[in-house]
Structure formats: structure tokens, C-alpha cells
Symmetry: C2
Subunit: 465 residues, 2 copies
């Protein structure tokens, strides 16, 4: 007969780890670095801390291709009672809130740890301390895949002898350094492009040291958690707000748990749904809830979702970052005004670097640096909305760019919900409003490049005479 069974989320992502980016030793080594570095940066720049990040990859076995990866940060640390679940339970996260962060799924560190566990048997080691605490806490863990829970193999703490806060995560995985090397270095370099406010040190298995030194001392403004926007409503959202029991009237629930719903809006919505504002939320019938949900979705006069939840890089940071890496003769950036899709705010930022040490592009389109919530995206370029725009919808000749040319286009999308195509976070789906915004942003900076190149050409012609 059929074997019916339930599996845990740990089992699911162990079984289908390729979908999370762990498809072969080279790619897994890359993804492990990514997940740990993205956690380290989330723990710093979202919390007003100038990041100091150290990444070490060491060969961990003479015979087998095992690599020990250590990532250290000076971030907010993790409370000791939280550490086991943060690293030992799949679908556990501090980022399930409405605020822009690199992390979003509650998966990254765990799948890396799972991969290390099944390929090398070695546990993950975590050392952490929050600012202000007197002690540093350490753990050796592995994941009970069947039950999706941590197994603490060792734990302890010791007194701090100096002011330190942050986290050190160490996993050992089967990898392929020679195959993964150029991608890993590219990832770290592209991370450095958008974090000129970070010190990043990378030590490779060949003992090569790459140091991206901080060049500006100001951080992008950190993101703040916000209330949901009514365009994000559905029946489940509404039911949960009701079952939280926090509101005595439906009017209170609407005005206090959503952004962009004030007195007038609340009364208008309730009137359209045929609900008395003083009605007890828990007593509303299901069909009334559905009607209210639909009325809320269809109302057209809300203030758009607040961009306080976002943390764009800003033009100064983009320019500083491109300068640090490419020393271009031309560099310009734009941070567009906030837009929204399905109740989520988003901002598109574009930077273009030209000349200087900017590498020559291919002959078909400029070198493209894609970013989402400050994460560099290197794979699945072909299925990303940005690639389609840069490659197929812009005639670079019109901007006096004769490809191949020393031109890099940086595109950064930030949002409280990036429409990633997969949990491996490699490409962005083609959402209409986002597509339009990205295109407008690129064209705007391209026009400035055209002005520059046109002036430059006239200069050169005049010099020839």
C-alpha cells in the first residue's frame, strides 16, 4: 500500500537542498559563505553598527575536500537561550517581520549547517555575545533532522576580558574551492561594493588575504519595523488580528493594527462592508470578514505604504562603493522615490560606473551587478527581471555606449518583500511595477552617462584640432 507520512521542515530542506542552493560541493561552499555573511551584515548595518566582518575558509582535512568556514561579526549577537533554535531549527528567524533585511526565510544558516553535518559529520560552533553583556556564550550543535530541533553537544560561557559583542559561526562542509573560488571572491567583492562602510577581511584556503577597508563612516539609515498596509490584507491576516484579542472594536483593530488607516478611512471601509464600527471583532461572521477583506483590497485612497521599513543604500554609498572597487572616470547613482506593490514598499537604486578600472563588458550588454536588499545576486542571471531590462529593453548605443565597453550597471531593489523566484535568493521575478521602476531608474542614470560621454567626445574632438 501507499506509504503516507509527514516530514519535518528540516527533512524537507535536507531532501531538497539543491533548491536552496546546495546543489554540488562548489555551489554549496559558495552558498554557505553567502548565508553566513548575510547574517553577519544583517546583525550590524540594520542596527546602527559599522560592520567589521571576517571570513576565513581553511582546508579542514588533508584527504577529503572539507573546508572549515568561520564568519565573525561585531553585530548585536544572539541571546544564549535563542542560539540553539536560531541555528538548529529550520523555519526559525528574527526576520519574519515587516522590515527590510537580507534574511527572510529562517532557513539560510540551518541548511548550511545541515549540509556540513551530512557531508563531514562536524557540528556547528557558535560564539556570541550581545552588547552590554558580561559573558560570552559558546555552543556546539547539530540538527536532529527528523524532529527539526537542535541537539546541544556542548555549551558554556566565560567572562569577557574586553568589550566585545558579535557572533562567530563556524561550519565544516564538503566543498570544491578551486571550482568555487572565483564566484566566492566575486560575491565578497560585490558585497564590498555596496558596503563601503564595512571592513571586510577574507582569508582563503591558500592563505591569500583580501581586505576591503572602510571608506565612509556613515551607515544607510536602518530599517524600522512597520505595521502591515491594508493592501497586504487577506482573510488569514484579518482572522489572526481578531484572534489576538487585542481590540475590543473592529474600528480599533483597523486603525491600530494597520498603517494608512485613520478615522475617516476606517469608517468608510466599515460602512462599505456594512459593519458597525463598535462591533466586537470576534463576533463577526465569516462572510462579513470576507466582505471586509474585499472592501479593504478595493479601496483606492490609502496613503501608500511607508518607506520607513526600508533601508536604501543612498546615492553617496553607491558612489563610494563603486569608486572603492572600480576607480571609474564617471560614476553616478540614483535612489528613486518609494513605490509599492501589494502593500509592500520598494525602492530601486541604480549606479553606473564607466572607465577607469571598470572591466570591459561583454559585447552584448553592460556588466550587471544585481542586488536585492543589499545581497549580491550572481546566479540565474537569465531569469532575473533586471537582466531582461538591461539586455533586451535598452539600446545602449542611444546612450553613446559602444559595447563592449568599460561599463558596470548596478541595480539594487529593496523591499519588505523581494519577489525572489526561489529560496536560494538568486533572481527576481518580473513584477510589473518593479519592472517599470527599474527601467526608469536605469534610463535616468544612462542619460547622465550620455551627457558625460558626449562632453568627453567633444573635448577629444576639440583637442585633435
Amino acid at each position: 500500500g501507499e506509504q503516507y507520512r509527514a516530514i519535518s521542515p528540516a527533512e524537507f530542506f535536507y531532501k531538497y537542498r539543491e533548491i536552496a542552493g546546495f546543489s554540488n560541493p562548489a555551489r554549496a561552499l559558495y552558498q554557505t559563505i553567502r548565508e553566513l555573511v548575510e547574517n553577519a551584515l544583517d546583525a550590524t548595518d540594520a542596527h546602527n553598527i559599522l560592520p567589521d566582518i571576517k571570513i576565513v575558509i581553511r582546508r579542514a582535512d588533508e584527504v577529503n575536500p572539507y573546508y572549515k568556514i568561520v564568519v565573525e561579526d561585531n553585530g548585536i549577537g544572539i541571546p544564549p537561550h535563542i542560539v540553539p533554535e536560531a541555528f538548529g531549527r529550520v523555519l526559525f528567524s528574527s526576520k519574519y517581520v515587516l522590515r527590510q533585511t537580507r534574511g527572510m526565510f529562517g532557513l539560510g544558516a540551518k541548511v548550511a549547517i545541515l549540509y556540513g553535518q551530512i557531508t563531514t559529520g562536524r557540528p556547528v560552533e557558535i560564539v556570541t555575545s550581545q552588547p552590554g553583556l558580561k559573558r560570552i556564550y559558546y555552543f556546539k550543535l547539530r540538527i536532529d533532522i527528523n524532529k527539526n530541533q537542535p541537539v546541544i553537544l556542548e555549551k558554556g560561557s566565560y567572562r569577557k576580558n574586553r568589550e566585545w559583542h558579535g557572533t562567530i559561526v563556524s561550519v565544516t562542509v564538503e566543498g570544491d574551492w578551486s571550482k568555487a573560488k572565483s564566484r566566492i571572491k566575486e560575491y565578497i567583492m560585490r558585497t564590498a561594493v555596496v558596503t563601503p562602510y564595512a571592513n571586510i577581511v577574507f582569508i582563503s584556503p591558500e592563505d591569500e588575504i583580501i581586505y576591503y577597508k572602510r571608506t565612509i563612516n556613515k551607515l544607510p539609515r536602518p530599517p524600522r519595523e512597520v505595521k502591515p498596509h491594508p493592501y497586504g490584507i487577506d482573510l488569514e491576516v484579518l482572522k489572526r488580528l481578531i484572534s489576538s484579542g487585542k481590540y475590543t472594536t473592529i474600528y480599533d483593530l483597523l486603525t491600530k493594527s494597520f498603517q494608512s488607516i485613520g478615522d475617516v478611512t476606517a469608517r468608510t471601509l466599515l460602512e462599505r462592508a456594512g459593519i458597525d464600527p463598535s462591533h466586537e471583532p470576534a463576533k463577526l461572521r465569516e462572510d462579513k470578514l470576507l466582505e471586509l477583506t474585499n472592501v479593504m483590497k478595493q479601496y483606492e485612497k490609502y496613503r501608500p505604504p511607508t518607506s520607513l521599513a526600508l533601508s536604501p543604500l543612498g546615492e553617496e554609498v553607491i558612489i563610494a562603493g563603486l569608486k572603492r572597487i572600480y576607480q571609474p572616470e564617471f560614476v553616478e547613482a540614483i535612489t528613486r522615490r518609494p513605490a509599492a506593490y501589494e502593500g509592500h514598499p520598494f525602492i530601486v537604486e541604480v549606479g553606473i560606473a564607466y572607465g577607469g578600472r571598470t572591466p570591459i563588458s561583454t559585447d552584448r550588454y553592460p556588466t550587471l551587478l544585481r542586488y536585492a536588499n543589499k545581497i549580491p545576486l550572481l546566479y540565474d542571471e537569465g531569469s532575473d527581471v533586471t537582466t531582461r531590462i538591461v539586455k533586451e529593453e535598452i539600446n545602449w548605443d542611444n546612450y553613446l555606449v559602444k559595447l563592449p565597453a568599460p561599463i558596470v550597471v548596478l541595480v539594487h531593489l529593496c523591499s519588505t518583500k523581494i519577489p525572489f523566484k526561489g529560496v536560494g535568493k538568486e533572481s527576481i521575478a518580473d513584477v510589473d511595477v518593479i519592472h517599470k521602476e527599474i527601467k526608469l531608474a536605469i534610463l535616468e542614470v544612462a542619460r547622465r552617462l550620455r551627457n558625460y560621454l558626449s562632453k568627453k567626445m567633444k573635448e577629444e574632438e576639440r583637442r585633435k584640432k
Copy 2:
């Protein structure tokens, strides 16, 4: 402070349902049909039952764009005590075994039900009975998203008055029929192409009836569950076999729980790992387990994984399917010999139809019908390994095909583990050995087409004289 929390798998796939294909009402309507039809076909053709599948989409509300979708099959049904979890618990499945089926994740029906629940509030209705049972069982369910468990709103049973077995699933979702219409019809048509042994009836919201009548009475041989192949080994697999307690010696564990490990191979592996064959599995130290895992992975003389786990269509079925839909002047098919990747067997099948009622392709490459485990893949064509081959690696001129041309290329990959790029099952990752097999298969059938076209051209030239 940071809000650390765990979420259930239901919550995860509710929050990120776009990643599972539920990204907007049109796409969600399409995906709902897909998930239910794929379940219906798995319940029939994998179990020696000639499928009778009925698909009905009806408008369910005059004002709101709600659609009731009913899919009925004559399959093996579901035991009544299993129904609530099968449809109410995310990551519950009968397909987590080593056997080719369309389903694999334990998600499909649940995400469709979740989507219906949050957009229309209506519960899913299931009617089912297994062959030989005297009663038919019915349920009305919804999913408790927070706890990832079913909530039974109604259930009951009644006596059968005729011999019936199978399942009827009915969900009501917010959709967009006008936008989704052509894709849904295309999906059903492409399903019919590879199931000429199935009766498929589709009734649209416009009361249009499309009937694909069975044209052959033989089924592809059904897949059988098999033991894992040693190339699929990792530390977790080995530890689980040990903790099952079923084997008194490590020799027994190897020879009885794996395919392709006989007496000689077992002794060779154990000798290389420095383990006595009579050693009690539970007493093996961790480092010895890792050593054994590595020895097993590196051994090169295994018999390849058995293809009994697979259920290829077969050349007769592919030809009959292409004939049913295209009535082509030329049609040929090939089922390649089994191959393997990472311990999983796979078979590539290709069919080419030319002329007759075959539609004209675009001017750049033939019309491509992609299939994985008999599932038609319609989206994300650009990121699929097959597209890359058909579009970029084959010069169709060499095969006397002057594009645009009335040519359809059908490519079917079947395996116990399809390397899908995402849980929405739309495109296949570029795995080397699979890439090579697909290419060889297409070229082989393309050569036969070339022979045909060359003869045809000579005929026409001779007739002109």
C-alpha cells in the same frame, strides 16, 4: 529587541506562496488545476488504472472572481483516516519514496487549499473511496496555518450503490479565468499528449466542453519502489538505517538496505573502511561512519541504479499522443536507455512531430513541449536545460528544418529525483549527465526527421520533372 520565532511549514508556504506558483490570481488558478490534475493522474496511471479524469471550473460568485474547481478521478482513493492530513498538513505525502511519480514535495494540494482559504474563505471538499471498500467518505476541511494541521468542518460516509473508486477534490479560489484560460487549456492539452491512455474531460466556466478520448488501452509499466543506491549515501542516510535497528551486522545493513550491494561489494567496502563485517551497526563510531560513507561514494564498480523505479512513457505512447493532437505527417520517438546521476536513475524520451496539423513554430526554434515525470512544464522556459539545448545547441538547418516550420519537439525526463529549480515545478536545472542525454536523444530523432525530409524533397523534385 529582535522578535525571534518559529513558524510552521503551512505558515511558510502561505507567506511565500509565490515561490510555489501562486503569485497572482491567473497563475494561482493555473497552479490549482495543475496540482489537482497531477494528483489525480498519480492515483491512476502509477497503479495500473486507465485514467478517467474530469476537470470542471465554474464561476462561484457573481461579483467576485471566485472559481470552483472540481477534479475527479477513478484512482486508488485515500483511506479515510489519512484524508485530513493528506489535504490539511503541509509536508505530508505518500510520494516521499524512491519511485517515479508526479508528486514529490507533499505541498501541491495544500498550497492550493491554503490559497482558496485565504482568498475565498471556502473549505476544500473531498470525496473518496478505495477499490473494494463498501463506503464513500466525504470531508470538508480547512487548514490551521499556525499549527499546520487540518480542521475537519464536516465528515461522513455513505454506502456505495455502484462500484466506484477514486477521489473528487473541490476547492474555490480567487482566479482570473480570462487571463489564465489559454495556459490552462494548453496545460490540459499537453497532459493529453502524453496520456493517450486517459480519458480527460474539461468543462470551462463558459461551459465549453473539451474531451480527450482515450486512443490506446495500454498503460506505461507502473513504477516500483526501490531501495536506495549507494551513490545516494550520506551520513544522515547511514545513521537512519542504523537507528532503525533492523540489522544486527553492518554487512547485513549494506546488503539488505541498498540496491547494487552484493556479498563481494559489501566485503570490499567494509575492508576499505577498516570495519569488520560482523560489527554491530549501532556501535560504529562517528568517524568510522564517515569513512564508510566516503568509501561507498568513491567505489566505482556498482551496478547502476535500477530503472524499475521509473515509468517511461514508451515510444508507442509518445507517438500515439502526438498523433492524437497534431495528426502529423511525420512522427518519431525514442526512449533512451536508463542513465543515472547521484544514485538516481533517469530516462530521457524525445518525440518529434512534423507537418499535418502541427502548429508553425517561432522563427528561432521548434515548438518545445517539456515534460518531467509526465508533468507538462509551461513556465520558466528560459531557465530550463532543455530550452538551452533546443535553442542554442542544435542547428536545425542541418536537419533540413527551415524555421519557422510546423515542428514540435517533445522532451520527457523521468527520474526518481527530477532536479527542479523550484517547488513550483516549472524548469529543470542544468545537470551535466542529464544535459548530455537530452541532447543525444533529440539529435537521434532529428536525424530520422532529416531522412524523412530529405526523401520528401527528392520526391517533390522528381515530381516536378
